[in-house]
Amino acid sequence: MFRVELSKQVRRWRTWLLAAALAGVPVLVVVAIRLSPPPPQNSQDAPPFLLQIVRNGLFAPLTGLALVQPFFMSLAIGLFAGDAIAGEAQSGTLRYLLVRPVRRPRLIVSKYAAAMTFTGTLLLIVICSGLFAGGIVFGIHPMPTLSGTSLSVVDGLARILASGAFIVLAASGIVAVGMWISTLTDSGPGAIVATVIVAIASQIADQIPSLHAIQPFLPTHGWLGYTGLFRFPVDLVTMREGLTVSAAYTAVFLALAVWRFRRRDITA
């Protein structure tokens, strides 16, 4: 079922559109910065990586990841996880999959694995597109860290890939929430929107100082932990927190999704 899901999505236009949009983000950033280098004084609101991009092509994939993560990735998760069961219910194909038969827990787990695979692939596309565009325009050089030290090109590349891997793993909790939402409704668009709203609302709540007490329990808490990879010494605390939270959300919400889906009457 996992492979069937992959091959179905690959033959869908919207998958390619999303991939193209995501690949375009780092290219857009590189082009924009090439055309008008931002003055370093205006560092207040710009993401930290954006300022150093002028000096190094290696920063393009990182900037791409930083820009894609909050919205585009949430949208992708909505499309892959939120739509997973609800979309099949809406089109009616769910009942034909279940009488094929595909066992219900297996359908959930396969769809979850496929959603994770696609999220990872999209981030890899962002990294590749950023490296390509940034490399061509600015060249690839050793990388300064946030702590002022320097990383070799190979080390920098490895940490960029590690960032991508971390972002995917940190997203696993929201993907599981999306799967659960997907078992609650027969409306594909409804489940997509609900999933995106959860992802974005959680990120916003994570930024509101007065919500300090609940922030460690938000599914997107620790999403920015990968910046710790670019400090010296490497700071893994936030990353570990992020992975713990997302693992907990994955366990709870996948179990809820399976439980809910097994009990449900399929009337769509």
Binding site: M1, R3, V4, S7, K8, R11, R12, W13, S91, G92, T93, R95, Y96, L97, L98, V99, R100, P101, V102, R103, R104, R106, R262, R263, D265, I266, T267
Partner: protein, 313 residues
């Protein structure tokens, strides 16, 4: 051998409303069984319980000898069409069948299904349209692909909900012939329909469902009322009236034309058959042009059973 489908006290309640209410049903192997009933009678709910899509509130249902619970049953050996067919519209007909073939768990089973795709597409007349996206299919083509999907696993039992929906008359006939052929080859077929003529022409046995339970069951012929009425065409209705009133009383005549040449509908009773009526008329000097037994159509039976309406003639 165990029954192909056996429901005992099968019940599905949604709150107060019972969609299926203590249904007892038995479909033998190799049978072509027609499942009739108006919309809302509980046909689709029953089919969904047989396919493990809906949890019964009470009672049990067995398919091919195995107990079915939601999500569990011998569905590798069952082909199904549940309400309308549904496909991934962005994939071609062939790719849809491939995806469904691969989606189950058994490798050998998936390979066997993949190997049958060309045959099935040919059988349902979609060989030429196989590589078009389903989005571009007409309703009839989707319906054919739905039947094709049900056939893909070479099933022992076919459960088809309104299989000729959306087909033109020649398409309907093709599907009917195909199903008859499969049934003659030993496949058990359970087909729901609201089209009585379709079921009458094709099925070995018919069950009529109303308000969640079976209200009649039997071969299509036996479901009809006994032949207790005849229609007589005579050259003189008024004279025939007089003769018949003398023979069996005025109540015998159910309806008649005014006078002159015309028809009379006559209700027969014990000891007074069609031959007696005919002989009496001829003796009375009335010329009988035609004498025709009036059988209830399945439609009359159906309306009578389902809505309590007796169709007057």
């Amino acid at each position: 051998m165990t029954a192909a489908i056996r429901a005992v006290g099968l019940t599905k309640r949604y709150g107060e409303l019972a969609a299926v209410d203590g249904l007892d049903l038995s479909v033998e192997r190799g049978e072509l069984y027609g499942f009739l009933g108006p919309n809302g009678a509980g046909k689709t709910t029953t089919i969904r319980m047989a396919l493990g899509l809906i949890h019964p509130t009470a009672g049990t249902i067995e398919v091919l000898g195995s107990r079915v619970t939601a999500g569990h049953g011998p569905f590798e050996r069952v082909g199904a069409l549940v309400e309308e067919p549904a496909f991934w519209s962005y994939l071609s007909g062939r790719r849809n069948l491939e995806a469904f073939a691969r989606a189950g768990s058994g490798r050998a089973d998936a390979r066997a299904r993949l190997g049958r795709i060309d045959d099935v597409l040919h059988t349902v007349g979609l060989a030429d349209a196989a590589d078009k996206r389903v989005k571009q299919y007409s309703q009839g083509m989707r319906q054919r692909l739905g039947v094709g999907l049900a056939l893909l696993g070479n099933p022992e039992l076919l459960v088809l909900d309104e299989p000729t929906n959306g087909l033109d008359p020649s398409g309907m006939r093709e599907v009917r012939e195909l199903l008859r052929q499969l049934a003659d080859g030993g496949t058990t077929i359970f087909i729901s329909s609201h089209l009585l003529a379709e079921v009458e022409a094709m099925c070995d046995r018919v069950g009529v469902m109303a308000r969640g339970a079976l209200v009649a069951e039997g071969p299509p012929g036996t479901l009809r009322g006994t032949t207790d009425r005849i229609r007589i065409e005579v050259d003189d209705v008024a004279a025939a009236r007089t003769v018949l009133a003398r023979l069996g009383g005025p109540d015998m005549i159910a309806a008649a034309s005014a006078s002159g040449p015309g028809v009379l509908d006559v209700t027969l009773s014990d000891g007074l058959g069609a031959a007696d009526v005919n002989a009496a008329l001829v003796r009375g000097g009335i010329r009988v042009h035609a004498l025709e037994p009036q059988r209830d159509t399945l439609e009359d039976v159906f309306l009578h059973l389902v809505e309590g309406i007796h169709v007057p003639r």
